[in-house]
Symmetry: C2
Subunit: 314 residues, 2 copies
């Protein structure tokens, strides 16, 4: 039985405030068809694929961005995407803003879903590491209000048996956090799908665009190597209403090496033939967790949230 | 008050079985003097600085390498190094094989000590992530018997207030493990000193030398960036009795960027002027742990050692 899976990373170019969902879905369908022509079995779309990156805008009310959220997936405007994927026999990972009634109230999450080649929902992930801030900050050239419009996800970092292997999802800022990869690594993950929207500039730091792209790749490459897993990182890129997002979509092998990379900041499909068995060598040797990890010395990682000095037994 | 510290990474060329300790110490002293001329306040030496990398050789008895171990630090042959460092006003981090009577028995650790500019011992670290194996494995071109000759360290990943900042130590294989950096990051570490001995080839994997060097740097650069800390990684390098160790000593800024790098596989000093205040930006923004971490979803990291699938509440 083969454990190779041909994966497409469907980078999206910019989506402006003015773009309507039918036009956006038509672009997704076009990328799916390209993926079909290239033999992909699984396509990864970015974070918040169905709208502009609205957390850069301030709304006085927390529900002020609800028009960008989806209540049903598929819904009337996204059904076409699901139908086309099923027709092509392609599974996909799709990020969107999720509005849901749970625990007797409306809740908002930054969500990704995974759909199999037959069109069935495999799993859902709700973003845990929300970056940015919750209130308007006038010193910024653009806002980053994810903590305003979303709740922290409540799904944890799960993995699923799908596409012939063990797969997981993360979203954007999650990729910078070692715990994201490790929690899935401890469940034997072999392929992690990550969509992102990342501005090319940080209005507070003065970091160069080059440095920020280095960080984008550094964290995904280290996460892949240190957990012996494929990582598919897919951007929404380009200039959205004057605000530019980085591209740099990549597929990273379990060696940490980039094996496919986007060249543009537009709609662009990158493809790699991912042999899930390549995860096995590191998982059983240098990163054989059972042989080498020492959780008795890791206590602070779960016992404390922020920095805390002073003696601790573990 | 300045928070800049000029740090030297004192890469060592090969040490063969035949080399005596006086000759080795003379090389360390020469590197210290170079560091003094270049204005260094702190010098980092490699792992197991005082001997060849003996875990590549099999001995039938576990005490068969005891002649490479030091019982006292400083001892008769290393006193010269301590004296010279004090005279120059240079602190240092030194790796060595430690033989100690504790708990009523002889114990062996792969150890680093940190000595301040006045010659006083600041702290001791005993290596936690021992790589390799404990028994002879005939399929290997060279052995990696750290699990045979050393016990797992019992110090934990501590940090110390020294050299104007918060500093910590790790050794060799520790640098590949995200938990190493994170446990110190959670104590506000600003500079981590790491010595290593790493073969250029792995007799089982067929990895290229280039890939292995990439992993060496990838893990330290990611560890630095993701924890907003300087990392000083220092090799023992070159051909020891026919077995070649990689060089690639580097000083990594809190941005993850390499700011100094060795060019040779011999005795070589690399120097960087490390501004500890550069840690502050990331620590208070993108990697503000208190604002962004979510330990309620990290449970597996401390609750399990090896891979375990299946549902888990956190």
């Amino acid at each position: 039985m083969t454990r190779r899976i041909k994966v497409g990373g469907a980078q999206m170019g910019p989506i402006t405030k003015a773009d309507g969902k039918p036009a956006i879905v038509a672009r997704l369908v076009a990328l799916l068809r390209q993926a079909g022509e290239r033999g992909c079995e699984l396509v990864v779309f970015p974070e918040l694929t169905l709208s502009t990156f609205f957390p850069r805008w301030y709304a006085p009310e927390r529900d002020g961005m609800d028009h960008y959220f989806d209540r049903a997936m598929p819904g009337p405007e996204t059904q076409l995407l699901f139908d086309e994927a099923k027709r092509l026999g392609i599974g996909f990972c799709l990020g969107y803003a999720e509005l849901v009634e749970e625990e007797g109230r409306l809740r908002r999450f930054n969500t990704s879903i995974l759909v199999d080649r037959a069109g069935a929902l495999v799993g859902k992930y709700r973003k845990i590491h929300l970056p940015g801030h919750a209130e308007y900050e006038p010193q910024r050239s653009h806002q980053h209000l994810e903590k305003r419009y979303f709740e922290v996800g409540n799904t944890g970092f799960q993995v699923w048996e799908a596409f012939g292997g063990t797969v997981g999802m993360a979203i954007c800022n999650d990729r910078r956090w070692v715990e994201t990869y490790r929690v899935m690594g401890l469940q034997n993950v072999e392929l992690i799908m990550i969509g992102y929207n990342t501005p090319v500039s940080d209005s507070l730091s003065g970091e160069t665009e080059t440095l920020r792209m280095f960080h984008n790749h550094l964290t995904m490459q280290a996460g892949a190597y240190q957990n012996s897993t494929w990582v598919v990182g897919v951007a929404k890129a380009g200039v959205e209403d004057g605000h530019r997002l980085m591209g740099g979509s990549v597929i990273v092998a379990p060696t940490g090496e980039i094996v496919a990379a986007a060249e543009t900041e537009g709609d662009e499909l990158i493809v790699a033939d991912c042999d899930l068995d390549r995860c096995e060598y590191y998982k059983s040797h240098i990163f054989n967790f059972a042989a080498h990890r020492r959780p008795e010395f890791y206590g602070r990682i779960t016992a404390q949230k922020g920095v805390a000095k002073g003696p601790r037994s573990t």
